[in-house]
Amino acid sequence: MVSLWEELLVVAYALEMRSITKQYFGNTVLKSVDVAVKPGEIHALVGENGAGKSTLMNILFGMPVIHQTGGYDGVIQIDGVDVKVDSPARAMELGIGMVHQEFMLIPGFSVVENIKLNREISRPNLVSRFLGSKLETLDLNTMGKESQVALDKLGIDIDHWAPVAGLPVGYMQFVEIAREIDKHNMKVLVFDEPTAVLTESEADLFLESVKRLAGLGLAILFISHRLEEVVDISNNITVIRDGEVVGRLAKDAARVDRIAELMVGRSVKQSALPPRKKEPSDDDIILQIRDLAVDMPGEKLQNFDLDVRRGEIIGIGGLAGHGKVALANGIMGLYPGTGQVIKDGQKLPLENPAAALKSNLAFVSEDRRGMGLLLDDSIEDNIVFSSMQIQNKFLKKHLPWPSTHMRDAEAIRAYALDTIRDLDVRCQGPNQPVRRLSGGNQQKVCLGRALALSPDVLFASEPTRGIDIGAKNLVLDLLVEINREMGMTIVITSSELAELRMICDRIAIVYEGRLVGTLDPTASDVDFGLMMAGGIGTGVKAG
């Protein structure tokens, strides 16, 4: 605890954000958030996906997306002075630096060239005297020396003339940081999930460097999902949930389970779901997954084992980037994968979407505009597209050869009208192009298409992403209804834990591409929070 005397001495915050409120189209995503960081302090910002951390950082960094959507309310102070951050360039002027989650490095350039990107040091020459400073010669020597100084501050020893392309990922991160601290007047440095891409030893090295930087008097804002490291290095921790600050913890009060509970903690009403005639059990496994690895960029999955019971709704949860969406994408053959998937005793070939569909698996993609829908085609064509291609439904077979079969317009229309009614798709009619439907209605069309395949197992990836709350509940109710009435097995992936807890029989949590365990939807918040941070909770069932 900081004593009163110290409090009086160290009044000056390097960065203070007071009562920051932000609305997107009438939807409040940040509610009066306060964050203050002193020089030399490491301040962690934690929260679930979509809690509002990125929005807060976008505001701090003056990103265009904030100002195009009506700006924000509240005050930002740097060194006690009110500032208006209206562009990233302005943020840089004010001494706010950001190490991006994805690297902003040019692979073909050397470390030095990357550190000095667009801040090159140059000498005037004969030509530049006439034609301006742009034609000054680069002073590679001085650039190298200054880069070395920045790298030394981090305690990193790399050949600074080597091209970045060949460096290990961990070192690329250091190059990014070196670029930030090489900027003069740097006061506040923001790290957005810096260790997400690092191996454990790299992360240790990295955290050492962060402490060293704080020791140099920089104020550091640190966003991370790895709660152990947050507890380990931060002086203060602010927990955000649903756009509000729900907790502030000083270093000595911080415990991983406490943070996890604050992060997740929302009262979940488990509304009674309709019962089944026969509850699913381990005696009847429809899908057996063994040692599955899926190479999906940013969402890698490895050594994944899971048994899906016939007739259940199983949720796949976990934080973004840990591989939960790769499961469905891998089984459906959309990304390269290895391992074994057995459906009803039959081995399912991987990397083969047609085979997956023919084995009566259907998929509602998380990327519904990119992968799910033919946006300029009509609702009815979208609904029957897969079943027509895969199962030869909705075709008139006048002649024996498959390529001569013609679409059966009447059957398609009749089926589409049924689907539109059953799923309550709000549209002008079955002819309307799906591009002009709202997100929720597009999602229903995706579902309708998957159902047209009458699958045994339905994979629904982020089925409620980007649609409004009313539509969300509708989609979830629909999934429950399909499950109960048709006995369809459903594997649902979602970033919103609450929603999984509402409809699932069990929830499997993925962390760093591996299955940590499965939890009952009624398990405690602490268990969920811990497991999503890679730990094992108390209520774990055998996976």
């Binding site: 902003m104 350039f109 034609l135 680069l138």
Partner: protein, 361 residues
């Protein structure tokens, strides 16, 4: 998942020459082809050497004009045709005003530069609207501006643009003649200094000028602006985040390229000393691109040496292939056919190879 896959067997470690060969596969292939064709053609080596030197001086500047857009990520700039047209416009102007000798040539250079810069600026603007499809855009742009060029010199000269010098106009009084004799600036740059080394006449004046442009390009790539161009060429998004004005940088690259191309066409014309008003520029883009690719460059990476080696090989093949065709089949036309075949084939293969390589990485 990479950890799950069996370990990919590493490439056979044998002769360390192998990577060097595979890296330079295209120029090596063409060197072999050239040697073979030259041997079949049984050409007099002195004649061959003097032809190669002449063509090196005549064509290399047009190929060098391609380098900067490649660095700036615009790919192979087929729109150097625009520069060539600017150069020809200047040549017609000085011929009209009966300017002679080196003085006339310098005036043509000075007159073509602002016109080429304007065309380059407009081309750059269009390229910025067509990011990711620059090459096909530049090619079509060349065809389009060729139409404007013909409109001006075939129909507007005379009725709209008054012209006194009847000797370069068509007899009808409308339009420029199909061929204009450029005796006034014939080989002015070549002749500045033309020593005879081992019986081969060397157009040293032109070669020195080309060398100066090479030095200027080399210098430019080492300046702040050059660094910005290379950054934009590698990744426009990152360049933008770093505060570089991406669109402006690309436009500057296009302007420089077009101006160099205009001068390149002037050098070409003073050596040929005849202007084919409606044809001289047409193939400039294709042949320059083919030569650069033969030198081992790609749409993303090209160096001065690749440009020079490319000109040497491509034009050697041009010189020897008719004779070689004659020697093999007895029909010289087959060699002519082979030239065109080679030019387009090289571009197609090199672009496909490039797409394949970039997908692999």
């Amino acid at each position: 998942m990479s950890t799950q896959n069996p370990v990919i067997p590493t490439k056979k470690t044998g002769i360390s020459l192998l990577p060097l060969v595979s890296k330079n596969a295209v120029p090596i292939l063409f060197a072999i082809l050239c040697t073979l064709a030259a041997w079949l053609a049984k050409m007099d080596p002195w004649f061959l050497a003097s032809e190669i030197i002449t063509r090196l001086a005549r064509n290399s500047l047009l190929v060098l004009a391609l380098l900067i857009p490649v660095s700036a990520g615009l790919g192979l700039n087929f729109a150097i045709v625009l520069g060539a047209m600017a150069g020809q416009t200047a040549v017609i102007a000085i011929t009209h005003y009966k300017m002679t000798g080196l003085w006339g040539f310098v005036v043509a250079m000075l007159a073509s530069a602002p016109l080429a810069a304007l065309l380059g600026y407009l081309a750059g603007k269009i390229m910025n609207r067509a990011k990711g499809r620059e090459m096909i855009t530049s090619m079509i742009l060349g065809f389009f501006v060729n139409g404007l060029y013909q409109l001006v010199f075939l129909f507007l000269i005379g009725p709209v643009i008054p012209m006194q010098n009847r000797s370069i106009m068509l007899p009808s009084g409308v339009g420029i003649r199909n061929t204009v004799d450029l005796f006034r600036i014939e080989k002015v740059l070549d002749k500045l200094w033309r020593p005879i080394v081992l019986g081969v006449r060397i157009p040293m004046g032109t070669l020195i000028f080309v060398g100066l442009i090479c030095a200027a390009i080399h210098f430019l790539m080492r300046t702040r602006l050059g660094q910005q161009m290379r950054t934009v060429g590698q990744d426009m998004h990152i360049a933008g985040v770093a505060g570089i004005d991406v669109d402006r940088t690309r436009i500057i690259a296009m302007i420089i390229s077009t101006v160099i191309a205009a001068w390149g066409q002037l050098i070409f014309l003073q050596n040929i000393s005849t202007l084919n008003t409606y044809n001289s520029h047409e193939q400039v883009g294709t042949f320059a691109v083919a030569a650069l690719l033969v030198g081992g460059a790609t749409a993303r990476r090209a160096t001065i040496w690749q440009a020079i080696v490319g000109v040497l090989l491509f034009h050697t093949l041009f010189i020897v292939s008719p004779q070689a065709g004659h020697a093999i089949i007895g029909v010289p036309q087959i060699g002519e056919y082979f030239r065109v075949f080679v030019a387009y084939g090289v571009i197609g293969v090199a672009l496909a190879l490039h797409a394949w390589q970039s997908r692999k990485s």
